[in-house]
Amino acid sequence: MRTLLIAGGLLAAASASACLNDFEVRHAEQEFRAAYADAPPDPAPEAEARLPYFLGTAAGAVLLVLALVAAGRQPS
């Protein structure tokens, strides 16, 4: 029985083992890989544009300074 069990498992494994090297292997792998080459991945997402935020910050800073100037010039 034990021999039979061993035999069954090994028979299945016989087809599982293969690292054969011949002239065809590399070609076959390249062909296989090429069959799944598709369009390149979607373009990388553009980095968030920062300029509007820098302009917004600059505008805020100018308005803030102008407000302080206006407060300083206001007659008592």
Binding site: G9, S15, S17, F23, A67
Partner: protein
């Protein structure tokens, strides 16, 4: 009100509004819908720089035999050509047999014989080649032990793969081919009750280990997975219940596979750069794969008993190893089908997992000749299949029908290729001429499936994605608004008084 008090008052109001602006900015960031961006899945970064990266469609196709595969006529032609080359070389100049081109003819000859099921002849041819290699390069220095640091060890392996000496190439191919053919022959012998097959298996595995030592990167690591599967099967020699407990990747059969599909919140640009070939940084390649590809980790008991050199690996490595053995080796087998089914289920590729399990069941008698063992394995696999059908709300009849149709198409394609080669060989054509293969492929629709979106991850950006520059802008604008409000109130109060 003095100027100083006015300025302080305006500054205080501006600060308070700036503080409100801080909350506004954070709220805006967290409540915004964000946008979904598509990124290549990290496993599209191949282990080796020039290697094959996994696509899920590959698993579907291999499981359904949907790939080109040469028939016996092609292998017969390889045998005839190799014999002619060796004989011509020997007649012209026996010393030329030691040249790499002649040695490779022995490899082609032996491998083709093995593919034709003539393992005894294959061993004889490859032992003859080994004797030639021993005479030409009697001394072979194995590479020193790899560096302790994983990244450095990986870089060493990659660089070494591209710089094997002629002696190392010759020995590597000899060890790999002779080892594999010996394992094939030993396993066939054991299957017929011939206990001497054990010796051939042991000798063959020893040679394969030497091949892996010489060139661990070869064939995208397929040899490594051959050793893992062989050790799994060898463990079954000592424990008849082994195959009812574990698959060839060391996962238990009596429990659902672990989840392997992570939800990525972000992926570094390095992953995309490596996939697109914009980066060739080996360290990045290794660390990106290790950091972002889910790992297959075997049960400790399995790892201890098999002694396999496999404590865990990014999941695409065993998948590609199993696919390679299936396609370029002996074809479909239940161990590979079962392991692929588990990994695909873990990756939530449920229809493919179902198909792989169905293939394992179709070959169930090859797990063991013991009916009780087979029944137990079948019950466990059917349980997984029923779970999958429930998860995707499909009835099993339609899932099974889909497997049957796809498999029939794949088998018909491979049979057509074998018939085409046989017919051309009968006509006297050289079936090894690439033009003959091209003619066959041109005459039939492509058998490979489209990869589609299965290898893309979708990441939601925006939600919670606050950035300092956005925060500073809102704080400044709110502070400015507060300051002008304070100025306006102060002017109005001054006017009224």
């Amino acid at each position: 009100m003095t100027r100083a008090r006015r300025l302080v008052g305006v500054a205080v109001v501006a600060a308070l509004f700036g503080f409100l602006g801080l909350f506004f900015a954070l709220g805006e960031a967290f409540l915004s819908e964000g946008r979904v961006v598509a990124e290549p899945a990290p496993y599209r970064v191949a282990l080796m720089p020039d290697g094959t990266a996994l696509r899920v469609a590959m698993v579907y196709d291999v499981v359904h035999q949907r790939f080109p595969r040469h028939g016996p006529a092609w292998s017969e032609a390889v045998v005839a050509r190799s014999i002619a080359r060796v004989e011509q070389t020997e007649a012209r100049d026996p010393a030329a047999l030691f040249e790499p081109a002649s040695l490779e003819a022995f490899d082609d000859w032996g491998v083709a014989l093995d593919r034709l099921g003539r393992a005894d002849e294959a061993i004889s041819v490859l032992r003859r080649k080994k004797a030639l290699v021993e005479r030409r390069w009697p001394r072979l220095d194995f590479p020193p032990k790899a560096a302790a640091d994983a990244v450095e060890a990986y870089i060493e392996v990659v660089r070494r793969a591209g710089a094997l000496t002629p002696a190392e190439q010759a020995w590597y191919r000899t060890y790999a081919n002779l080892g594999t053919v010996l394992v094939h022959q030993g396993l066939r012998a054991l299957a017929t009750g011939d206990a001497e097959g054990r010796g051939a298996v042991a000798e063959g595995l020893g040679f394969v280990r030497q091949a892996v030592r010489l060139n661990p990167a070869a064939h995208f690591g397929r040899e490594r997975w051959q050793l893992v599967v062989a050790r799994h099967v060898r463990a079954g020699l000592d424990d008849p219940t082994w195959f009812t407990r574990f698959s060839a990747i060391g996962w238990p059969l009596d429990a659902p596979p672990p989840k392997l599909r992570p939800t990525y919140r972000a992926l570094p640009a390095a992953v995309r750069d490596l996939v697109e070939g914009a980066s060739h940084d080996l360290g990045e390649r290794w660390t990106s794969r290790e950091a972002y590809i889910p790992r297959v980790v075997p049960e400790p008991e399995w790892a201890e008993v098999t002694g396999a050199d496999f404590e865990g690996a990014p999941f695409d490595e065993p998948v590609l190893g199993l696919l390679g053995m299936w396609m370029l080796g002996g074809g479909a087998n239940p161990h590979s089908a079962l392991a692929l089914g588990q990994i695909m289920e873990a990756m939530e590729q449920r229809p493919i997992a179902y198909a792989a399990y169905a293939r394992a069941l179709a070959m169930k008698d090859r797990f063991s000749p013991d009916a009780g063992t087979v029944r137990l394995i079948e019950a466990l696999v059917r349980g997984r299949m029923a779970d999958i059908a429930g998860q995707i709300d499909e009835d099993e009849a339609s899932l099974q029908a889909a497997v049957t149709v796809a498999l029939a198409e794949g088998e018909a394609f491979q049979q057509a290729q074998a018939d085409f080669e046989a017919a051309r060989a009968a006509d006297g054509a050289d079936v090894l001429d690439p033009a003959v293969q091209a003619a066959f492929l041109a005459g039939c629709p492509p058998i490979a499936s489209k990869p589609g979106q299965a290898d893309t991850v979708f990441i939601r950006r925006g939600t919670g994605a606050w950035r300092l520059h956005r925060l500073v802008m809102w704080v400044t604008l709110w502070a400015a608004a507060g300051a002008w409000l304070a100025v306006w109130v102060a002017r109005r109060r001054a006017r009224l008084s």
